[in-house]
Symmetry: C2
Subunit: 200 residues, 2 copies
């Protein structure tokens, strides 16, 4: 049986290796590259792929992804160096940055405590976080791990370690999401929203 | 506002240029490349992208995509050189090959007559098809354009051109799809199925 020319088959295979991309999508993307992209555009794409592996490293201070050492946030003297916001992944930094509310530093744990995934505290960048707390400038640690079981476990674990040190320790608020509907809020969220109520 | 490191942002942008890939998927794919692929795997991917643009050309005989000249099908003397199956796209060749029913040659029009998309007969590889019909070996042309309005128009147009020549001209059968349900077949399909009925 005849199949696509070898180079085309190989590109389809490569696309199909990516998560969430099945054989049909891989074929569609490959044909798009072949028919709709200029040689120059494909070159730029290929270089972007190689560059990401070559240039991106982990910031030795906050363990975020970076292409400079230390990363742009850790370098930035405009930011509030008295606060450290602890998150699970690099993606969470972007999510918090989008609020434009937080001006402090970050610490990326690169995961969370999850026995299911075989991840314990020793797999996270906790040692690096504790080392940073030695800096007299740091006054507050904000725990911003995800509000799920693993995230809570991780926050609890960190709280135990950090409590004895002389820094303020906070956790992001849990409650009903803005724009949500009380009727459809789950019990756990509503319970947290009630217990965390504030005077107006 | 802080954004991802430059190399990462650029790769996300590149993925987001592909059809059907939104910003969230582009981010997910970029993180997959960064975290789950080895440098070697990324190199292979980048090379596959470049190779497809460099190696894939159009077969001068059948206008199919190929990395050898003429393409593997046109070269193959095992195949039946008396039949030419006319299809719209290279993908259609693969679809027909999967049936393992057809052993002849192909001709890829690289499109179809579609005034809506601004495509006329002069944009298709019709001249190349007619040139092939000069070969005395060719006995039959099978029109296998898509069974939609544009495909039918294209088939009709080709039929007018080829009819005067001394070759058998056929069109793939239209009817109810195998495994389908008569109750849900559309009127046009059912009409074609009835008019195309065969003695058993």
């Amino acid at each position: 049986m005849y199949q696509y020319a070898e180079s085309l088959t190989r590109l389809i295979e490569q696309f199909a290796c990516l998560p969430g991309i099945g054989p049909k999508t891989a074929q569609r993307l490959s044909f798009y590259v072949l028919n709709n992209m200029s040689e120059q555009q494909v070159k730029v794409f290929a270089q972007a792929l190689l560059a990401v592996k070559k240039n991106i490293t982990t910031c030795p201070v906050c363990c975020n992804l970076t292409d400079v050492t230390p990363c742009r946030i850790c370098q930035d003297e405009q930011r509030n160096h008295t606060q450290i916001c602890v998150v699970e992944e690099a993606q969470d930094v972007i999510a918090i940055e989008k609020t434009r509310e937080y001006k402090g530093l970050y610490h990326v744990l690169q995961g969370r405590i999850s026995p299911m995934e075989g991840k314990g505290p020793e797999d996270l960048k906790i040692k690096e976080l504790l080392a940073r707390l030695g800096d007299a400038r740091v006054k507050e640690v904000v725990l911003a791990t995800n509000p799920d079981v693993e995230g809570e476990t991780t926050a609890l674990y960190l709280a135990k370690l950090i409590k004895p040190l002389e820094v303020k320790l906070t956790r992001i608020a849990h409650g009903v999401p803005v724009g949500g509907d009380l009727e459809y809020a789950d019990i756990a969220t509503l319970t947290r929203a009630l217990s965390g109520r504030r005077e107006v």
